[in-house]
Symmetry: C2
Subunit: 289 residues, 2 copies
């Protein structure tokens, strides 16, 4: 008998995951969503093998369950449907914060195996109509196993990651994941919105160069999603922001006090670090070719 | 008799300006540089019509003079060669700060007309070997005329801008130029280096997404050049940085105090501003097509 992958939430990421997982081993892909038009679209466009309106009926068949809702939606869903998972079900999520999700997952019954995940892909668009099969091609798939994670669950997720085209699987702790994401992604979004808060934004429009466009592109963000991501990772994000504010203040003080030698030192150090990063990236690219 | 455009400093911008100005009206393009290999390269590659080793001999023929050195180099050159400009010479520069350059130019003799300029183009490379004819195609050419600027000088520069392919000429005051550049360009470079100062840079390498790469690309900067640009525009830059620090702190405080409504307000406002910018840019693009 065929087994089922149940995708809860057919948005940009859930829809793309469903598309990418069609034909994986002996699994059917079953989509669940609160929106009727989304379910119709998913069937008509072949995003999934089957749809299921009722999450309880869907979960009863779910051997592998992907929670692809917004962060708070994932927490609410696990809380509401705690008792509805199939015995032996393996459950994972695709959410950009891991600490809060793992805390929520701790309340699941013992017969459910939960393994936190974050396939590092996305776009500024949203909705199933923007979902694509190749969304995860070349991406890192981060997993946060713990002592309770079944080895076969981890093995299955490694095969999933390979099947959907990820470049590698990185295992880390939820805390480490959240610290990484605070710095490499969330802080970039806060910088972008903070720059756009400046009254000069419209006043000086037309004079932006590549550096301005590169820095502010992500400011047009999905407010409910990012509010949840930021608040669920407030500790790590505030730490990263405090360090950034400190560094910015350092440059400003060097300028304000006319400390030219200090400014040169700081700029030389940072430019050398960035060049070393570029060198390492290039080196790896050559070795991956 | 042919007239001469003298380009002082054949680096990335001076070399590109020379290439772009070949054949302009009835002018010959004469290149001056302290480096013998650069002068040889300029002749061999047809970057200029002629080269001249001695700046004094070059200036004696210069009807239109472009100062294409680093900011401090421009100030030093004007100071050292104050008496060597041809009577009636029109002098301009291509430097990314205007207030300091205009102050330096105030000491030029009365028979010299100085008009500050900033063709908004460049790249992270430097040197004549990276100079290209199309460097200024589609760029804004900023000019900072004042009461002393001769109308024919302004007219000539408008024809220059059109000839080298600029999309428009924007006239503004040196102060306004420096405030614009502080926000749209210099602050982006300070953000990039401040992000790269974080100890997490190497620790979390491999997890950068598009937002991180977009924000930090310009951190590998030319330290002597940017030290001069930053220090010569310290007032406006520090003002922009203070506003940024204030905005960043606002987001951090909303997160730290759990002020979710405040965070949503801030994010909604900034995201809406950025979307409005995107809309205006798209609108103009459609109308320019």
């Amino acid at each position: 008998m065929k087994k089922n992958i149940v995708i809860v939430g057919l948005g940009l990421i859930g829809g793309s995951m469903a598309r990418a997982l069609r034909g994986f081993e002996d699994f059917d892909v079953v989509g669940v969503d609160v929106s009727q038009p989304t379910l119709r679209y998913a069937l008509e466009q072949g995003v999934v093998d089957r749809t299921e309106e009722d999450p309880v009926r869907a979960l009863a068949q779910g051997d592998l369950v992907f929670l692809c809702l917004h962060p708070q939606g994932i927490l609410d869903f696990m809380d509401r449907h705690r008792e509805h998972f199939k015995k032996g079900a393996m459950v994972t999520d695709v959410c950009g914060v891991k600490g809060a999700v793992l805390e929520g997952a701790a309340a699941l019954p013992e017969y459910v195996s939960f393994l936190g995940g974050h396939p590092m892909a996305g776009s500024e668009r949203s909705g199933i109509q923007h979902s694509v099969t190749h969304m995860f091609r070349g991406a890192h798939y981060i997993l946060t196993p713990n002592g309770q994670t079944k080895p076969e669950h981890l093995e299955l997720m490694r095969r999933v990651a390979a099947y959907i085209g990820c470049v590698d699987v990185v295992e880390t702790s939820p805390e480490q994941h959240d610290a990484i994401i605070a710095y490499t992604s969330q802080m970039m979004h806060i910088i972008a919105v903070a720059v756009c808060d400046d009254p000069s934004l419209f006043q000086y429009r037309g004079f932006e160069g590549g550096s301005f466009r590169g820095c502010t592109r992500v400011a047009a963000l999905d407010v409910p999603l990012w509010t949840q991501l930021f608040t669920m990772n407030a500790g790590a994000l505030c730490g990263a922001l405090e360090r950034l504010e400190e560094n910015l203040r350092g440059y400003r003080m060097a300028l304000q006090t006319g400390d030219r030698a200090g400014l040169v030192d700081r700029l030389s150090n940072a430019a050398a670090r960035k060049r070393e990063m570029n060198r390492l990236d290039q080196f790896e690219q050559i070795n991956n070719d």
